[in-house]
């Protein structure tokens, strides 16, 4: 298929119709709804599962879900995660969990928000939240430590209670991963 090269008529060569046509198109755009947004005041509505800042979550009973298996540290392409593994100080919740991270650092300046950490975590302990505007005055400020990450992450409803019930969920719990309190459907089905 060959593209048609325009052949201008005499009238078009005077450029007058083109000016009128251009004016007409731009004028038609004037009454249209404004498309731009006054950004810092007017926040965009995020669509889908937005991949923002990675955060650590606790389960509803207050246990840090991460067991410092270091899989996320391994997979992170820009090596933004640093984990110092340690044993759980408080074994009161139940003795099935032995480990939790002593320190967990994510360098937000290195992180590329790829979501691999969330994808590989076998404990559903790390989640990418909707926070997209991460700023600071110093580099150190943007190296988020465990405490800060847990603060950002908050509590994540648990549907499986992997360690508490060892496989059998309590009756009546919704099956499937949850995100921001709502069940995530697209990842639950299929392979």
């Amino acid at each position: 298929m060959q593209v048609q090269r325009p052949k201008l008529t005499f009238w078009e060569r005077t450029y007058i119709p083109q000016i009128l046509k251009g004016m007409w198109i731009t004028i038609r755009h004037l009454p249209m709804k404004k498309f731009t947004r006054m950004y810092p005041e007017e926040k965009p509505k995020l669509l889908g599962d937005y991949r923002g800042a990675p955060t650590l979550v606790k389960d509803p009973e207050g246990r840090v879900k991460c067991v410092s298996c270091q899989l996320c540290e391994f997979v992170c392409p820009p090596k933004a995660i640093r984990i110092t593994p340690g044993f759980r100080a408080d074994q009161a919740f139940d003795s099935n969990v032995e480990k939790e991270p002593k320190e967990f650092e994510i360098d937000m300046l290195r992180c590329i928000y790829c979501g691999y950490c969330e994808e590989v975590c076998p404990e559903e302990a790390i989640f990418l939240k909707n926070d997209f505007a991460i700023t600071g005055y110093k580099r150190e400020e943007l190296r988020f430590n465990k405490q800060k990450l847990l603060e950002l992450g908050g509590v994540q409803p648990d549907s499986i209670w992997k360690w508490k019930y060892k496989g059998a969920p309590p009756p009546g719990t919704p099956i499937g991963p949850v995100r921001d309190g709502k069940p995530v459907e697209k990842k639950a089905a299929g392979h």
Binding site: E12, R13, G48, I112, C114, G115, P122
Partner: protein, 412 residues
């Protein structure tokens, strides 16, 4: 009596270039264009030798954005490299993801389900539209038609919204995985995408009305930088540049991959091979992409979106959380990566800018021994000296605009 001015050039890099030439012409002027010139679409530098307004010689300089992506690839698993492919042609990250995934799948000899192929086709075509909208918008802005840029960017914003819906990121999509996709296409994507492709022709028509029969636009583009059929082939040009010169070559038809053989579409070609033809080819390609997306949405099959390859694709999260075997499997797949066979493959995909190829040498295991990226912009940029010579200084912006390169991919 005419007065003669002696000009002192301060830029030593420019002087060095001049000194390489055997003949030193006192009257010729060396001008640096870039690396931070708005029309060079990134960090691209051209040293132009001018005789008055006419360009007598031109040395393009690249490498300002070199990150060493090919070397980085040797030190990580195949899956971990996917985010880096976003950053090649950052105007069409989805298309890069798709091309890379097919390359590694070719190495492993696996086939993905039809649903995955169709979703990938939609992604690649959306990326093509996005890239061409920017290419045309930026080109027309460089040569003075600012309005078009604003209208095309509005549509690009909508494409970013679609990207956000499908994979959770607007620019750094990282959507494909080896043997499948990061996640299935969400339900809300289909009506959004349908609405987008229904509205897009209006913008393309507007652009058409503003530019195609515009006398000023035609004069700035017609018979500028004519690239003959032979030169286009000899220089290895691909994409709209090759087709603009009248060669009907499109990998989607010539070497169908990823289900493209199931779709009806035409390959637009030019006749003269000037900037105007390249512009017209891009316009038509967008219309054809809309056709492809329409067909893919209409015939979207259901079912699995990941290949049934337990050694390559990560197990389902629910199973990882509850079953021991799957958990072990998950760890092995993540840490060791896919166990690729020993061998070498080349896979080229028709990206918006041309043929994006990945040449992978594998010595087995989860990391490539060597990964070469054949970036279309890199090859197409060779044409700059050939095309610029003999034209006016002010034509360079039209020429660069019509070549529509992106430095993230060229320097990689």
């Amino acid at each position: 009596m005419a007065t003669r001015y002696e000009m002192e050039m301060i830029d030593s890099a420019a002087r060095a270039h001049q000194a390489f030439e055997e003949e030193l012409h006192g009257e010729k002027l060396i001008v640096n264009m870039g690396p931070s010139h708005p029309s060079t679409h990134g960090v691209f530098r051209m040293v132009l030798e001018l005789d008055g307004e006419e360009i007598t010689n031109c040395w393009p300089e690249i490498g300002f954005l070199h990150r060493g992506d090919e070397k980085i690839a040797e030190n990580m698993t195949y899956t971990q490299f996917i985010p880096y492919t976003d950053r090649l042609d950052y105007l069409a990250p989805l298309a890069n993801n798709v091309a890379y995934a097919y390359a590694v799948e070719k190495l492993c000899g696996i086939d993905v389900p039809v649903r995955c192929k169709y979703i990938r086709v939609i992604c690649a075509e959306l990326a093509r539209i996005s890239s061409h909208l920017l290419g045309i918008g930026a080109m027309s802005m460089d040569i003075g038609a600012m309005t078009v840029f604003l209208y095309t960017f509005k549509q690009r914003e909508l494409i970013y919204d679609l990207c956000e819906t499908i994979c959770g990121a607007r620019l750094t999509t990282s959507y494909t995985r080896i043997g499948g996709l990061a996640n299935d296409m969400p339900e809300s994507f289909i009506p959004m995408c349908r609405k987008f492709i229904a509205d897009l022709p209006a913008t393309i028509d507007e652009t058409d009305k503003l530019l195609t029969r515009n006398k000023i636009f035609i004069e700035r583009n017609k018979d500028i930088a004519v690239l003959s059929r032979e030169d286009a082939i000899n220089y290895g040009a691909t994409g709209p540049i090759l087709r603009g010169s009248g060669v009907e070559h499109d990998l989607r038809k010539a070497n169908p991959y990823g289900g493209y053989e199931n779709f009806q579409f035409d390959i637009p070609t030019g006749t003269v091979g000037d900037c105007m033809d390249r512009y017209l080819v891009r316009m038509e390609e967008m219309r054809q992409s809309i056709r492809i997306i329409q067909q893919a949405l209409d015939s979207m099959p259901g079912g699995e979106w990941n290949a049934p390859e337990a050694k390559i694709v990560l197990p389902e999260k629910q199973a990882v959380l509850t079953k021991m075997e799957e958990l072990i499997h998950h760890f092995i797949n993540v840490t060791q990566g896919i166990n690729a066979p020993v061998g070498e493959v080349y896979f080229g995909a028709e990206n918006p800018k041309g043929e994006l190829g990945f040449y992978i040498v594998s010595k087995g295991g989860g990391t490539p021994h060597r990964l070469k990226i054949r970036a279309p912009s890199f090859v197409n940029l060779q044409l700059v000296p050939l095309l610029c010579k003999g034209h006016m200084m002010s034509d360079t912006v039209a020429i660069l605009g019509s070549l529509d390169f992106v430095m993230g991919e060229c320097d990689r």
